[in-house]
């Protein structure tokens, strides 16, 4: 069985990336690593036979959320301020206790991939047995999403809509400017940082360098 090997390899990569996020102070690097983290988790979802979820995570995590994070970085500081030296005892204690409790909680769970686990016995089994004749479409995820659990999905769609309204209320929307006005201000959409320099030239505080903006 090759599946557990791939699974553990991907999870090991994810642990390395998570630790790098903890250590890294360049927030641009953090955004990139976070995107990589999402992409690797999409790989884990594929190994776990969740194609729809992997698809969504790859599109959302590696695409939209990275763009949003980069756009935020151009509007805030690019580097994290250095912290005080010393071991942060209180956060470590809290995290360690929480993690220990959660690991203790998993000890009662059924073995990974057990077909007899309680989660597979109730409603999910019925979906798999009956959705073929009741709904008539092969993709069970779609039929559960849109039909059996349509209420949930309506709620989620409303949440997304509300989040959109909230962001517009917080940030406002820029109206389109007439063409002749634009010549003076040749910024690209991310504040001229569409293709950002990668590493090494990191001393600037605000990456959207207006003094360099030529004709865009």
């Amino acid at each position: 069985m090759i599946e557990p090997v791939i699974d553990i390899l991907l999870l090991a990569f994810m642990i390395v990336i998570a630790l790098a996020v903890v250590r890294m102070r360049d927030l641009f690097g953090v955004a990139m690593l976070f995107s990589l983290f999402s992409l690797l988790s999409a790989g884990v979802f594929t190994v776990m036979d969740a194609a729809d979820v992997a698809f969504t995570e790859a599109a959302v995590g590696a695409g939209i959320s990275t763009i949003l994070m980069l756009a935020t970085l151009t509007r805030t500081a690019r580097r994290e301020r250095p912290r005080a030296k010393g071991v942060p005892i209180l956060p470590l204690t809290v995290v360690f206790i929480t993690g220990a409790l959660l690991v203790f909680g998993t000890s009662d769970l059924p073995r990974l991939g057990d077909p007899d686990a309680p989660i597979h016995q109730h409603v999910a089994d019925r979906y798999l047995q009956r959705s073929g004749e009741e709904i008539g479409i092969p993709n069970v995820v779609t039929s559960v999403l849109a039909s059996y659990r349509g209420y949930d999905t309506l709620g989620e769609t409303a949440v997304i809509f509300t989040a959109g309204i909230a962001v517009i209320a917080l940030l406002g929307l820029r109206r389109r400017r007439p063409r002749q006005e634009r010549k003076t201000d040749g910024r690209d959409a991310l504040g001229e940082t569409t293709v950002m320099p990668t590493a090494g030239m990191a001393d600037e505080r605000v990456p959207g360098r207006p003094e360099k903006g030529g004709d865009g």
Partner: protein, 117 residues
């Protein structure tokens, strides 16, 4: 040996705790949001691991009796991912507004300014 049968859950919890550590120990708000999102992704992995069936396949029905993985966690997490990015956008928008109001995104500097009011 039971310990090794649950490795996926435990690694997911470990990842979640790294995200949690970033959330509680770092002062930069953007990094906090990144840590929170990492926490979220780890919880997604935990959920999807529960729906996994040994020797199963993607829950798209084909002829012939196959074993399918559990579609229910997939549906929950599918919507949660998209909702997660929408809520993350709200958090980042708040960070931008905080930056404009306080001219910093470091937590302790914001606290300092608030006390001096």
């Amino acid at each position: 040996m039971r310990f090794f049968e649950l490795y996926n859950y435990q690694i997911a919890i470990f990842l979640a705790m790294i995200g949690f550590y970033v959330l509680v120990s770092r002062g930069n708000l953007v990094k906090k949001v990144a840590g929170l999102s990492m926490f979220q992704t780890s919880v997604f992995i935990l959920y999807i691991s529960m729906g996994f069936v040994q020797g199963g396949t993607v829950p798209i029905l084909v002829d012939g009796g196959r074993i399918y993985s559990n579609p229910l966690p997939h549906v929950l997490i599918l919507t949660a991912i998209v909702v997660g990015v929408a809520t993350m956008a709200v958090a980042l928008a708040l960070v931008i507004r905080i930056k404009e109001a306080y001219d910093t995104v470091e937590e302790d500097e914001i606290h300092e300014q608030d006390r001096s009011f």
